[in-house]
């Protein structure tokens, strides 16, 4: 058995016995090594060194909060920690990939929607998707949904927006001011949502 394996067995025993310093020794002994293993195995998937260190920290904390789950007869403590960190690394990488996909799709939707040459049925279909999937985050007051749909369909006419807002009776200047204000708000919310996704 290696010196480190001996040391880890000792730390495990001390932690089970309630020694408050065992956790610090565990960090000192394996934190960097677990991080380095995870980094080597997942850097190709976009994992950074800092991510790997955080995953190592979280794996050690998970072990410390439930040490009885670790069975020393089955593996070394270092292997056990790498196994926990590896699972979390895969979850992190997958979640980032999904976020990226979601963001690309969102950007694609908003950009395509404002393209004048786009097919009308397609525009309507994707506008439906944005309203369905993200409406709760964009629509806040009466008229927002109508403005959002017109915006996504690439509508530029102030008159159309004013009609949707029930403001056709206002003067041309008032209409322009109101429409600009409402369109700007919707656009900002779309941009914020895009950054979040």
């Amino acid at each position: 058995m290696t010196k480190r394996a001996d040391e880890l067995r000792n730390i495990h025993g001390r932690h089970l016995a309630g020694d408050p310093t065992a956790s610090a020794d565990l960090f000192r002994t394996v934190h960097r090594a677990v991080g380095a293993t995870i980094y080597r195995q997942h850097r190709g998937m976009g994992l950074s060194w800092d991510d790997a260190l955080d995953l190592s920290t979280d794996a050690i904390v998970a072990y410390l909060s439930a040490p009885a789950r670790y069975d020393p007869t089955r593996s070394s403590l270092a292997t056990y920690l790498v196994m926990i960190a590896r699972g979390d690394a895969l979850n992190l990488v997958t979640s980032r990939i999904n976020k990226k996909k979601s963001h690309s799709r969102f950007v694609e939707l908003t950009v395509v929607e404002r393209n004048e040459g786009v097919d009308t049925d397609f525009s309507r279909l994707d506008a439906e998707r944005v309203v369905r999937e993200h409406g709760a985050e964009i629509i806040r007051e009466h008229g927002d949904e109508a403005v959002l749909r017109l915006f996504l369909s690439g509508e530029d006419s102030t008159e159309e927006y004013a009609r949707a807002l029930g403001a056709s009776d206002l003067s041309e200047d008032e209409q322009r001011q109101l429409v600009k204000q409402r369109r700007d708000r919707i656009e900002k919310r779309l941009q914020r949502l895009g950054r979040k996704l």
Partner: protein
């Protein structure tokens, strides 16, 4: 990425991640520091260097209100080579500050509730 310097930076990063985890002394550092942990100040209080302050922060946190406080604190102090009294003072102060913050937010809540009641309930309606 090899070497003591990197190991130390890695452990400091771990410590920063644990400041919101009550199981570690790191959370006591957070309690005495307020919004952002000032590790240099902590090291100064413990009359030690930054790396030792990190090592202490990674230990399990003893609570003055729970059994074994003096024994565990002494164990940590001896392990890290800091004065037990310094560590005990810091942990006690951290716990008092925590209790004070929790107490003051509860008091604020009670005062707000009392104000609402005086006005006739949170929505301005009478409480039955």
């Amino acid at each position: 990425m090899a070497g003591d310097e990197h190991t130390s930076a890695g452990l400091r990063r771990a410590l920063a991640r644990l400041t919101y985890n009550d199981a570690f002394v790191a959370s006591a550092y957070q309690d005495v520091s307020g919004s952002r942990v000032d590790l240099e100040q902590i090291a100064e209080r413990l009359a030690t260097d930054l790396n030792t302050a990190v090592q202490v922060g990674l230990c399990r946190r003893p609570w003055a209100s729970r059994p074994g406080f003096a024994t565990d604190t002494a164990k940590i102090a001896m392990h890290a080579g800091v004065r037990p009294d310094d560590l005990m003072d810091l942990l006690r102060e951290a716990e008092s500050l925590r209790a004070f913050r929790v107490g003051s937010s509860s008091r604020d809540g009670l005062l707000a509730a009392a104000r609402d009641h005086h006005k006739g309930g949170p929505e301005g309606t009478d409480v039955q």
